[in-house]
Amino acid sequence: MLDYYLRCALQKTRRHPWLASSLVLIIGLGVAACMTTLSVLRAATRDPMPGVSRMLYAPSIASTGEAAATFAAAQGLVDHATAVRLLSAGGSASVFADYALSGIALPQDPGVHPSVIYGHAVSAAFFPVLRVPFVFGRSWSASEEGNHDLLVVISRKLNDRIFSGRDSVGRTLRYNDATFRVVGVMDDWEPSPRFYDINAGNGYPGTDEDFLVPLESAVANRLGSAGTVSCVEAPDGKGFDALLHSGCLWISVIAMAPTQAGVQALDGVLDGAVRTSVAGGLAGEGLSGRMIPLRSLMEAKHIVPDGTQASVVVSVALFLGCLVTAASLMMSHYLGRHAELGLRRALGARRTDIVAQLLVESALTGLLGGLVGIGLTFLGVATVHRLLPSGPAQLATLQAGPIAIALLGALVATMLSGAYPALSASRAMPLAIIRQG
């Protein structure tokens, strides 16, 4: 029976090409608008560490004083003294701290130009929490970090650029006026958004992670921060030492806490650290601290650009509008066919047969509309990539899952919108039709 209806539907499509193609195009445009805006939303709200991020927490300092806005804007960052206390808190949580570095890599091999490289000073727990993979070598050991050895882990890309991709473990990297020994080469691993330095480019810094050095070595060698430094009070004095002993917020801390108890223990450490902090006159600002889930930090930082969700809501409304139009077109089309439908009724077709036939027609329209919509979505996503050369939209892609859902959605929605027209068309009076001839 179904294939008979399908043949009927195809025949109708051939007989009314304009109507059929308008219907398909209308459904397609609605599907494409929803799919394009949704794919951008999916990219913008993507989870940087699937399965892990719900265990990740970041410090948040609140103030009841006048500088409340400064503290609110610097969520995720702490001063050096607080970072040290969080790092040595122990307990069930793994805690790491980091800050951004950038400088010039001076080549030793002839024919390699100096270049600006970007990286982070990180503490040891960074590697297990982020599951950094290695091509060559390894990360540094706790004792090496404690000795303030100048060690560096470089990315595969940087290794390709300055060591022509060979195993560079044991070689040296000249960074500004310091010389680091390479202990490892990382495979590709970077999470997006870069949640451990959320202020840089709002999570999408646009630069690669070229190198990582031990936090303690970086601090001991006075490697200045290339990232956000947020001060309520200017440091007392100048240079790196003044920053180190100030209450300025510049070190990012992330804790991986599998249990609630682990988070609460860190809450206590953080709160105690900021309440007793006298460095830079932080005390007296009515400070309190607690660990907030990574999700809250990302929301507070507006990682998802304003308007992303709004565009999805408006697109869905557009799709509903498309369905209403499709329904009215089907309505007018079916009523125009009342002679044919009446004749079928007169020849013994039941009302359910008529409804079924018309629903198969609308299902076919929906399916074709969905296919056209997916084609248009590819255009839409390509346009979005061109309009938004940086940021999360570059990660917008079309995947099999959403495509399947869109096809099914278009089919079901079109059938629903065709239901009323089909029901009303099935009321065609066989007798009246026959009498008219």
Binding site: S22, I26, L29, A33, T36, T37, E66, A67, A69, A73, I104, L106, P114, S115, V116, N176, D177, A178, G201, R222, G224, E233, A234, P235, G237, K238, G239, F240, L243, H302, D306, G307, Q309, A310, S311, V313, V314, S315, A317, L318, L320, G321, V324, T325, A327, S328, L329, M331, S332, L335, G336, V384, L387, L388, P389, S390, G391, A393, Y420, S424
Partner: protein
């Protein structure tokens, strides 16, 4: 002859068709009004005047490779001398009109902030401001309009190392900050204190407008509170700003780069060293622009589709009433009466749809409110969209209306 009340009631009796038109118009109105709301919202962000007359301006960043990362007092002087020599070389290039040095630029998100108050070391923090540090030519090169007062003199420009933060004796403020600090009275000659310090700085100039480097992260008011300090920051990294002569940005950039390399070939000038201010603006607002385009596309699609739907329904409905319209004609109604009847019917339904649509538009807007806390759709915008829908409805009904006017009464009567 205008259609009677009975005619309009008859229209409503065509339940399905009437309901489709009303629903169509309501959804379309909600979509178009909210798309317009989003467009206006983001166009306002994009339309902000940074204060920079930027068509001919580019920034040129460079780095000296032969400097240690810790810079002492003697090196501050040496770097200062290098910067002055660099700037002279850039300015002598034929396509260059002016050049200066500055720490950051509007819309680059490269933000330095401090607090400015009108009393020394006050308990209150004062006003949060964005800091620009530059030389005596920075203002003119950027094209910031000097509302009152004067520029820095070369002698007033201090050389400071990294982390040095003593307040300069003079500074320039934005007009918005001047108003916040001093109300309507003139800010010129008044003293302000940076970062709760003891040392006063005297306001010697007020620029009409100077937007913060922060694109989104500052609240609406703070974006316009800026100070320009007469400080040349001495570090290995320098940002020069260059104003090219009219239409000569490309050649000025090439000449400036060449001039710098001639003075010191070992410095680092990268691919991204030259950054035109027009590109800075375009990059900063890329999301707002993309969203605006998307919403324009959505509105156009919605209007076309809704117009098409109304056209289809009106055609259907005229077709179903050929007989009754023909009888009307036979009984003396003129062509124009029939055309007016169809158009008025359409107006009636579209107006009903608009009523429903205003409710739907506001409901949809309340959903959007979750992400746009501060704003709300304006009633004027909804009514403008409603007026637009009425016009589109009439346009869509025009062809079927004219066709119905052309019904031949003779044919219809013969069939009966």
């Amino acid at each position: 002859m205008l259609p009677s009340r009975a005619d309009l009631l008859a229209t409503l009796r065509q339940k399905a068709s009437a309901a489709f038109v009303v629903l169509q118009v309501a959804v379309a109105l909600a979509v178009v009004a909210n798309a317009a709301f989003i467009i206006v919202r983001h166009a306002q962000t994009m339309g902000r005047d940074s204060g920079v007359r930027g068509g001919q301006v580019f920034s040129l960043t460079q780095q000296w490779l032969d400097l240690p990362s810790a810079i002492d007092k003697a090196q501050v002087e040496a770097i200062n001398a290098r910067e002055i020599a660099d700037l002279q070389a850039i300015r002598s290039a034929p396509s260059v009109e002016n050049a200066g040095v500055i720490n950051t630029l509007p819309l680059t998100n490269n933000l330095w902030t401090t607090y400015v108050g009108t009393e020394p070391s006050t308990r209150s923090h004062g006003v949060l401001v964005s800091i620009y540090s530059g030389d005596e030519r920075a203002r003119a090169t950027l094209g910031l309009h000097l509302a009152s007062g004067r520029d820095f003199t070369p002698g007033e420009v201090l050389a400071q190392g990294d982390g040095e933060a003593s307040a300069p004796p003079v500074l320039i403020v934005s007009a918005h900050l001047a108003r916040r600090l001093f109300g309507e009275s003139s800010a010129l000659g008044r003293l302000v204190y940076l970062n709760k310090g003891e040392q006063p700085s005297r306001v010697i100039g007020v620029v009409e407008n100077l937007q913060s480097p922060a694109v989104y992260s500052l609240s609406d008011g703070s974006v316009w509170d800026s100070v320009l300090l007469p400080i040349r920051k001495a570090s290995a990294f320098t940002r020069y700003i260059v104003r090219a002569k009219e239409g000569k940005v490309e050649s000025a950039a090439a000449e400036a780069k060449e001039a710098l390399y001639r003075l010191d070939p070992s410095r680092l000038l990268t691919e991204g060293s030259i950054y035109k201010f027009s590109d800075i603006e375009a990059d900063a607002y890329q999301f707002d622009r993309a969203l605006t385009y998307t919403m324009i596309a959505v509105s156009v699609i919605m209007v076309l589709i809704a117009g098409g739907g109304i056209f289809a329904i009106t055609t259907l409905w005229v077709g179903r009433r050929i007989r009754s319209l023909g009888v009307r004609r036979a009984l003396g109604a003129r062509r124009s009466d029939i055309v007016v009847l169809v158009l008025v019917e359409n107006f009636f339904l579209v107006a009903l749809g608009c009523l429903a649509g205003i409710g739907l538009a506001i409901g949809l807007n309340m959903m959007l409110m979750k992400w746009y806390e501060a704003d709300r759709i304006s009633v004027a915008m909804v009514f403008a969209a409603a007026a637009g829908m009425v016009a589109i409805g009439q346009l869509a009904a025009l062809r079927p209306a004219l066709k119905s006017g052309a019904i031949d009464p003779g044919v219809v009567i013969r069939v009966i």
